[in-house]
Each structure stands twice: as structure tokens, then as C-alpha cells.
Amino acid sequence: MRLTLLAIPLLCATAAAQEPQAPRMPPEDSETGINAMILIGEPKGTPLEGAELDRVAHEVAAVVRCPVCQGLSIADSPVDQAAAMRTEVRELLAAGFTPDQILDYFEPSYGEFIRLEPKPEGFNLLV
């Protein structure tokens, strides 16, 4: 009896170790088929929620240039495209992607131009 009682937690621990880890984000967006992981790999951070998500989402949006009104960040721009990008930023943060990964997500599509603050390297550093 005592042996059985000892074996139960052991079996549970083994089963938990063998159970495949559920992905924190579906492999692709169910409505569009867009897959962030193709571009930026697995999330490297902790999924955010609540006030922390609001705060970090605003910080990230403040350094992403709005492609439509190019002098403004997506945090400040009133256009629909900026709103869509803010939604994307929130979704990625909630899925555990880091702010740097999110900038790396937008950059292949728009180029370094999408960063309001260019990376401090190479020619940028010289300028």
C-alpha cells in the first residue's frame, strides 16, 4: 500500500515530463495563416497580461514608425494601419515575444525605416 502511494507521484511526474509542451502560440494565425515564428522563432520572453501588457505594448508602439504617417509612431498615429499594428504588438507580447523580437518581426517587411530610433551600429553610429 505504502509502495503504491509512493509510486503515484512518481508516475505523475514521469507523465508530466513525457507530455509534449503545449505551444504558447498557435503555429499560424487561424484567420490569416501568418506565422510570426517563421520570422522570429520561438517566443523568448514571458507572456504578458493586464497592466504590464498595456505598459510594454505602449513602450514598443512608441518606437515603431507608422508606415502611413511616417513622422509618427504607431502609438501616436490615428490611422487604421497603426491600430492594426498596435493590435499585433499586443498579441505578440501576450504570446511571450520580447520587444526586440517584435521590432525584428516588423523589420523584414518594412526595413530598418520602421524603427523610429535606428539601431546604433555601422553608418547610423557614424551619422
Partner: protein, 176 residues
């Protein structure tokens, strides 16, 4: 001597700035080349107006023209007729995909019922595909070859069917 040093320092600062400005002024400040050209097209799976799922990879092996458009976009209206004519002429030699950009499916249905359709019309919820393709506004067209690589992007409207053929064939040889 002191004057020579001041002039030399001035030249070292001024000449590179002038060269930098001269190069910069030759470019259209609104025209930013897409970093996606020469890269694999971001895969997507969008729904058409009937709710069917359409995957970009379904068209591998033949060229695909992806046009982002909306009913509120005046230049897009100018393109509509050219894509209709190109669609009739080219048949299945090229796949024409119209991705709706920030517009209501009801508006699109009404517009297409009045003006006629071309290619496959796809709904892009939350503009996720537009963002993945680096869209700045509409109309924008992307040309994808049979291997799934983006070969060009246009931010100006293709106002006649000849512009469509020219872009596909003369510029990129995709109709041979």
C-alpha cells in the same frame, strides 16, 4: 597656417555632407524599396468572399500578382478595369489575388456586383497580411514568381492592362 587648418577642417565636414545630400536628393522620399524583394513571399491563408480558404502556396509553379486594394481608394478604381481585362486575357497563366485593405466585405461585395470581378478577392482581418508584406497604403502590387519569391513591388497603379502585361512580361519575363 591657422586659416588653412580651419579651411581643411571645414572641407572635411562640409564635403561629405554635400555628397550625402546630393545622393539623397536624387531619391523620391516617399519611395522606399521593399526589403522583401528577392525574398520568399510571406505565406498566408486568407478567406475569399464565400468563406473558402485560399493559401498562397496553392499557386506554387506559376506567377502570382497580389494587389492590395479598397473601394475607398481612387487609384484602385483606375486599376480595376485593367485587372479585369488582364484576367480575361491571361487566364491561368498568372494568378491574380486581390487582398482587401481596411474595407468592409459588404462594401466590396456591392462594388464587385456593380463593376464585375477579377481574380480572387481575399479578406485580410486586422491587416495582418498587409503588415507582413510591408504595405504603406493602397494600391500596392507584389509580383511573386513560380518559386514563391517576391520579384517586385509597385506602389503606383497599373492603369491599363498593357501596364500589367508589361510589368509581368517585359520587366520580369514571367509570362514565357
Amino acid at each position: 597656417m591657422k586659416r588653412l587648418v580651419i579651411l581643411s577642417v571645414g572641407a572635411v565636414v562640409t564635403v561629405p555632407l554635400l555628397v550625402f545630400l546630393a545622393i539623397g536628393l536624387q531619391h523620391d522620399p516617399r519611395s522606399i524599396e521593399s526589403p522583401l524583394i528577392g525574398k520568399p513571399a510571406p505565406p498566408f491563408a486568407l478567406r475569399d468572399l464565400d468563406g473558402n480558404r485560399v493559401r498562397l502556396e496553392d499557386f506554387r509553379g506559376r506567377p502570382v500578382l497580389v494587389n492590395f486594394w479598397a473601394t475607398w481608394c481612387q487609384p484602385c478604381m483606375a486599376e480595376h478595369g485593367s485587372f479585369q481585362e488582364a484576367s480575361r486575357t491571361l487566364g491561368d497563366r498568372v494568378e491574380l489575388l486581390g487582398v482587401i485593405y481596411q474595407d468592409q466585405p459588404s462594401m466590396i461585395r456591392r462594388f464587385l456586383a456593380q463593376r464585375g470581378e477579377w481574380g480572387t478577392t481575399l479578406i485580410d482581418p486586422e491587416s495582418k497580411v498587409a503588415i507582413a508584406y510591408g504595405v504603406y497604403g493602397v494600391p500596392e502590387s507584389y509580383l511573386i514568381d513560380g518559386d514563391g519569391v517576391i520579384v517586385d513591388k509597385l506602389t503606383s497603379p497599373l492603369v491599363t492592362a498593357n501596364h500589367v502585361y508589361g510589368w509581368l512580361d517585359q520587366q520580369h519575363g514571367l509570362l514565357r
